[in-house]
C-alpha cells in the first residue's frame, strides 16, 4: 500500500489544467465556442491528477453514474478510443455533457481533491474524449443486441429522448424519435447557444444514433400531427415522452405585449435554431437591442444576455429580484457573463413596461427589493421596498423567468395523469406514467431542470421500458 501514498504526493504537485478560452473582449462579439478544449497533452496531464479512488464520490454524484475514474485512467494511458467506449457505456452524449453539465455541484463537487483544492476537471476530460473521437476516431459503433422485434416511439429529441433512443437501440429495439421542430436536438439546438454548444456537435451526436439505427422523424408534432393513442395503433409497443417544459412564463405586468419584449424561448430559438445571428444570410430576423434588459438569473438568462451582447448591444443588464447568492445559473456562466461585460441589477423587479406611440419598448419601471423570510423554495423571499420606484431605459427585454408545462400533448391525452402545475406524473425510479405503455421524463415531469438530470431520467426509463418489452408492465 506504499505506492498509492507516493502517487498521491506526486499528483498534488500538478495544478488543475486550465481550460483554454477565447479572450473575453473578443468572444463577447462572436458566436464561436468560448472554451476551445484541452490539447492531447493537457488532457493526459489533467488525467494524472485523478486519484482513482476505490469509492469514487464523483460517480455517485453523476446522475447517469459514468465510470469516471475508468475513463480518466484510459485518457492517462492515452487509450482515447477505449476511453470514449467506456463513456458511451453510461452516457450517449458525452460531447454535450462535457460542455453543459453543472459539474461543480455533481461529479467535481464530490471529487476528493475538491476538499483541499481544485477537483479533477472531469467535464473538460469528458469533452476531450468525445471531441477526440469525433475528430480522430474510427467511427466504429458499439455492439448491438439481436433485434427484439419491439417498436418504441420517443417523443421529443432533447437530451432525455436521445438518451432513451441510444439505450434502447443497443438493446435491440426498433426506435423512432419524433421531433416537432424541423431539426432534432430539442433544447440542445433551440435553447443552448452556439458559443456554449456548437450545433455541429449536436448534429453529430444525433447522427451517431442514426448510424446505430434510430429513425429520426422531424416535423412530427405529437398531439397534433399524430396522437399518442395513434402511435399505439401504428404498432408501437411503448412510448417515451420527453417533450420538455416548453411554455414560456411572462411577468404578467402592464405593457408586456409591446414590440421589443420576447420570451427567452423565442429569442434563443431565433438565434440558435433559426440561426438569426447570421441574418440576412438566413431569412429569420432577430431584434437587435442597443440597451438590453434580461429578466431572470438562470442559465437561460445568462445565455440570452450573452447572445444580446454578441448581437451588438451597447449595454446588457440582468435584472433579478433576489440577490447574487440565489442566482440559479451555474457559477461558470455567471463569471463568463461578467467577463463579457454583462451588468447585474440585483434585488430589482420590474412592475411595468413603458413604450412609445408605435408600441415599441422604451423602458421599464422597477422596484428595489430586500430579502425577507425563506419561501417554499427555501430561498429568502424578495420583498419590495416601498417608494423605491426607478426608471430603467431599454429597447429590448428578454423575459427569462422560467417556463411551465406546455399542454399541447397532455391536453390531447386525457388519460395521462398530471400534477397541479400540468407536469406529467411519473414514477421517480422508472419514469412510468399512469397510462399503460407510456413513460415520461425530463422537464415535462420535473419542471425546467438540467440536461444531465433529463438524461438520468431517460436512462432509468429506458431500463424500465426494456424490462417491460421483455417481461411485461
Amino acid at each position: 500500500m506504499a505506492e498509492p501514498v507516493k502517487k498521491k504526493k506526486k499528483t498534488e504537485k500538478i495544478p488543475r489544467v486550465a481550460m483554454p478560452e477565447q479572450e473575453a473582449d473578443v468572444r463577447a462579439r462572436n458566436f464561436l465556442e468560448v472554451p476551445t478544449g484541452y490539447t492531447r497533452e493537457m488532457a493526459v496531464l489533467e488525467a494524472q491528477r485523478c486519484l482513482q479512488c476505490k469509492k469514487p464520490g464523483c460517480v455517485a454524484g453523476c446522475p447517469v453514474n459514468v465510470d469516471i475514474p475508468g475513463f480518466i485512467q484510459l485518457i492517462k494511458e492515452e487509450k482515447f478510443t477505449e476511453s470514449i467506449r467506456n463513456l458511451w457505456g453510461k452516457n450517449s452524449l458525452p460531447a454535450v455533457c462535457g460542455r453543459v453539465c453543472p459539474q461543480e455541484i455533481q461529479c467535481e463537487g464530490l471529487c476528493i481533491l475538491a476538499k483541499k483544492g481544485d477537483p479533477v476537471a472531469i467535464g473538460n476530460l469528458e469533452r476531450f474524449a468525445a471531441d477526440w473521437e469525433r475528430e480522430n476516431g474510427t467511427g466504429e459503433l458499439p455492439p448491438k443486441a439481436e433485434p427484439t422485434g419491439k417498436k418504441v416511439a420517443v417523443v421529443g429529441s432533447g437530451p432525455s429522448g436521445l438518451t432513451v433512443a441510444g439505450d434502447l437501440i443497443v438493446k435491440g429495439h426498433d426506435v423512432t424519435v419524433l421531433e416537432a421542430f424541423h431539426k432534432p436536438g430539442g433544447v440542445l439546438v433551440y435553447g443552448i447557444p452556439e458559443f456554449r454548444l456548437p450545433k455541429a456537435i449536436v448534429a453529430q451526436e444525433v447522427n451517431f444514433l442514426e448510424r446505430l439505427g434510430v429513425n429520426v422523424e422531424c416535423n412530427a408534432v405529437v398531439g397534433r400531427t399524430v396522437s399518442l393513442d395513434e402511435l399505439f395503433e401504428e404498432g408501437y409497443d411503448a412510448v417515451y415522452l420527453g417533450v420538455g417544459a416548453g411554455l414560456p412564463r411572462f411577468m404578467n405586468i402592464p405593457g408586456e405585449n409591446l414590440v421589443g419584449i420576447l420570451s427567452a424561448n423565442e429569442y434563443l430559438t431565433r438565434a440558435n435554431l433559426m440561426k438569426a445571428y447570421l441574418f440576412p444570410e438566413v431569412d429569420t430576423p432577430i431584434p437587435i437591442g442597443k440597451d438590453v434588459v434580461v429578466l431572470g438569473a438562470g442559465n437561460v438568462a445568462m445565455d440570452s444576455a450573452r447572445t444580446a451582447m454578441r448581437l451588438g448591444a451597447d449595454k446588457v443588464r440582468i435584472v433579478y429580484r433576489r440577490s447574487r447568492q440565489e442566482m440559479p445559473a451555474r457559477i461558470a456562466e455567471i463569471h463568463h457573463a461578467e467577463e463579457e461585460g454583462i451588468e447585474f441589477f440585483l434585488l430589482t423587479n420590474p412592475i411595468e413596461y413603458l413604450g412609445d406611440d408605435n408600441g415599441r419598448l422604451t423602458g421599464m419601471t422597477c422596484l428595489k427589493m430586500e430579502l425577507g423570510e425563506p419561501d417554499d423554495s427555501g430561498r429568502r423571499r424578495p420583498v419590495p421596498i416601498e417608494g423605491s420606484e426607478f426608471h430603467l431605459d431599454c429597447d429590448l427585454c428578454i423575459v427569462a423567468v422560467g417556463s411551465g408545462a406546455n399542454p399541447l400533448l397532455t391536453a390531447s391525452t386525457p388519460d395521462l395523469k398530471l400534477n397541479q402545475w400540468g407536469y406529467i406524473e411519473a414514477d421517480q425510479e422508472t419514469g412510468k406514467t399512469y397510462k399503460k405503455g407510456v413513460w415520461a421524463g425530463g422537464d415535462i415531469v420535473t419542471g425546467a431542470a438540467t440536461v444531465i438530470l433529463a438524461m438520468g431520467a431517460g436512462r432509468k426509463a429506458a431500463d424500465s421500458i426494456h424490462d417491460y418489452l421483455m417481461l411485461g408492465w
Binding site: N219, T225, N257, G260, M274, K275, T284, G359
Partner: protein, 278 residues
C-alpha cells in the same frame, strides 16, 4: 421533403396556390387550422392557414400573397419542387355549429382561409351569406368557389372595378340591418377584421376572426404570437388562431405585426435585386 403537386398563380401573380404532398397532415387537418412552411435550410418558418385539404390524395392547399422575402422565395418553387419542411396541422379547428344565418366576410388571401369554413358552415345547415372584397377586380380570388360554398355572394372592390364599389363593411351593414344574423366570421387584413368587428358589435352579432401574428414554433413554445383577447394574453398558435373578434385588441396586433418591418423590407429588396439581376 414536401412536394408541390399543383401550382396556380392568381391576382396578377401576386397570389400563389400550392397543393403540397403532406399525407400525415392532410389526414388530420380541419377547417381553420394552419401549417408552418419552410422552403429551405436557411428559410424562415412561415405560418399559413390551410385553404383546402384532400385526405385521399394526401395533399394540403395553401394560398399566399407575396409580401416579402420568404413568400417571394415560395413563389420560385414550381410543380415538382419541394418545401423542406411542412409542420401541422396546428391551432384549433373552427367550431362549426348550426346557428341559423351566418355571414362570412373575406378580404385578400383571407378569402382562401374563409372558404373551407364557409363550406362547412353551409354543409351543417346554416344559411350562409358571403361578402368578399379586394382592392380591384384583378386581385379578387376564389369567387367561383365562394359562390358554391355559400347561398348568397356579394363582391366588393375598393375601386369599383367589379361588384359593389366600396368596402365589405358597406354590404355587411345592409345585411346586418335585416336583423336575422346569428353569427359572423371575418378573415382578411387586420384593418378589415377590425372594422367588421366594430360593426357586428353594434348589432350584437357574435363574430369569429382568424389571426396570423408573427410566430416561430407554432406549438405554444415561444410566445411570439401573443395577442390580447378580452384583456388576457393568448397565444394565437395554440389558443387560436380563431378568437372572439369583439374581444381582440386589433390595434396592438397591427403594431406587433410591424415588429420586423425594416428587416423584412431590406431582406426583400436584396432578394428582388438578386433575382432580377439573374
Amino acid at each position: 421533403m414536401f412536394k408541390i403537386v399543383n401550382r396556380e398563380e392568381m391576382s396578377d401573380g401576386t397570389v400563389v396556390l400550392n397543393d403540397i404532398e403532406a399525407p400525415m397532415i392532410a389526414r388530420k387537418a380541419k377547417p381553420g387550422q394552419f401549417v408552418i412552411l419552410k422552403a429551405n435550410e436557411a428559410g424562415e418558418r412561415i405560418p399559413l392557414t390551410m385553404a383546402e385539404t384532400d385526405p385521399e390524395k394526401g395533399t394540403v392547399t395553401v394560398i399566399y400573397q407575396v409580401v416579402g422575402k420568404s413568400t417571394a422565395l415560395f413563389k420560385t418553387l414550381q410543380v415538382g419542387d419541394s418545401y423542406q419542411d411542412v409542420i401541422g396541422p396546428l391551432g384549433k379547428a373552427t367550431h362549426i355549429e348550426k346557428v341559423g344565418n351566418v355571414i362570412c366576410v373575406g378580404g385578400g388571401t383571407g378569402i382562401a382561409v374563409l372558404h373551407p369554413i364557409t363550406r362547412a358552415l353551409k354543409e351543417i345547415g346554416n344559411h350562409v351569406t358571403c361578402i368578399i372584397g379586394a382592392r380591384t377586380k384583378d386581385l379578387l380570388i376564389l369567387e367561383d368557389r365562394m359562390k358554391d360554398a355559400s347561398h348568397e355572394l356579394h363582391v366588393c372592390t375598393d375601386d369599383g372595378s367589379y361588384g359593389h364599389h366600396g368596402f365589405v363593411t358597406d354590404v355587411l351593414k345592409e345585411v346586418l340591418e335585416k336583423g336575422e344574423t346569428q353569427q359572423a366570421v371575418a378573415i382578411g387584413p387586420v384593418p378589415m377584421m377590425k372594422f367588421v368587428s366594430l360593426m357586428t358589435k353594434e348589432y350584437n352579432v357574435p363574430t369569429l376572426v382568424s389571426l396570423n401574428p408573427i410566430m416561430v414554433d407554432g406549438t405554444g413554445m415561444c410566445g411570439g404570437c401573443r395577442v390580447s383577447v378580452g384583456g388576457h394574453t393568448k397565444f394565437a398558435c395554440v389558443d387560436g388562431p380563431e378568437f372572439d373578434a369583439h374581444k381582440v385588441d386589433f390595434d396592438e396586433l397591427m403594431l406587433r405585426l410591424q415588429a420586423y418591418c425594416e428587416d423584412e423590407q431590406s431582406c426583400y429588396n436584396d432578394f428582388c435585386t438578386i433575382r432580377d439581376s439573374k
